[in-house]
Subunit: 134 residues, 3 copies
Amino acid sequence: MRSEIIQVNTGGRARVCDLTPDCERFVSDASDGLLSVFVPHATAGLAVIETGAGSDGDLLHLLDGLAPLDGPWKHRHGSPGHGRDHVLPALVSPSLTVPVLAGRMQLGTWQSICLVDTNLDNLDRQVRLSFLAG
Amino acid sequence: MRSEIIQVNTGGRARVCDLTPDCERFVSDASDGLLSVFVPHATAGLAVIETGAGSDGDLLHLLDGLAPLDGPWKHRHGSPGHGRDHVLPALVSPSLTVPVLAGRMQLGTWQSICLVDTNLDNLDRQVRLSFLAG
Amino acid sequence: MRSEIIQVNTGGRARVCDLTPDCERFVSDASDGLLSVFVPHATAGLAVIETGAGSDGDLLHLLDGLAPLDGPWKHRHGSPGHGRDHVLPALVSPSLTVPVLAGRMQLGTWQSICLVDTNLDNLDRQVRLSFLAG
């Protein structure tokens, strides 16, 4: 299995960061198999959504409503809202698997692989890409 | 890796479509390995739930409550509610991996693999099944 | 592919059970590859969260708010709230894939692999661990 870490700087605000170009590059020399995308952080997740037409903002707004920053979170380390960030990965999983054929991810036309990160206390994030050939 | 696409017609209403028979057939000649189920659409997801006892309707009702059709979605292409459809895959992921032993998925008794699709603008859907032997 | 089932007793209350030690042991002799964690039950899921700082309780509280025990669930078998338990796996998936290098899961410092189980009618649960080398 081939595996590498990419670095993402989220810039200090809640973000939906498109990782698709990094994933495309990572599998471009590959054959057929499964791409595993994995975020080794406890306050971020991965979503496969359309970007650039408003849905990235819609998703952050949805998450603010489902798990409000000022909710009665017991986890109170870090900045306000950090307790909320810690339940996010239960709804938006940090693990994703994508089929790859002849070095191309089999995504749909409007799908992008996105890091969803509402944590404002940690701007330098890692994402692990792994490819298992088959 | 063996991979194929199956076609699903959702019939023009929000649907939970049971894909289990298709998945069973796809792996029936396989040995041990992982089945990847992947939906190449930006407005649908996959859930492993019990079907036939009301939970499929319960799930659609739940999603209508969490992400209402008439919410303040910025994504406003397509029919009313299409903005909601575009955040669905962040909560109900389009990617699922199921362990297979001797050609049989290791599902529990009451588990079915289901396409969750609330998009009324695209009735002809595809689902990619891939099997990685190990 | 190597595969085994572990047993978990949830003790008769809603629980977030840390499976990380079991997963670590399972892959400790492995090389590189993907670990598949799969719950063969229709009323439980898997989350990768921090444990021990309040987020496990926060998650159960969040789920109680998103999908209330006394909601208008059509699925009415079992104890009160069982209809709610049956939609949980659509939000908290029973399937998870984790990259493994040289016998070590590539989790982040604060990540634990957890069974999320709100079902009070079935205390003896199984979780399937499978490792696909690559």
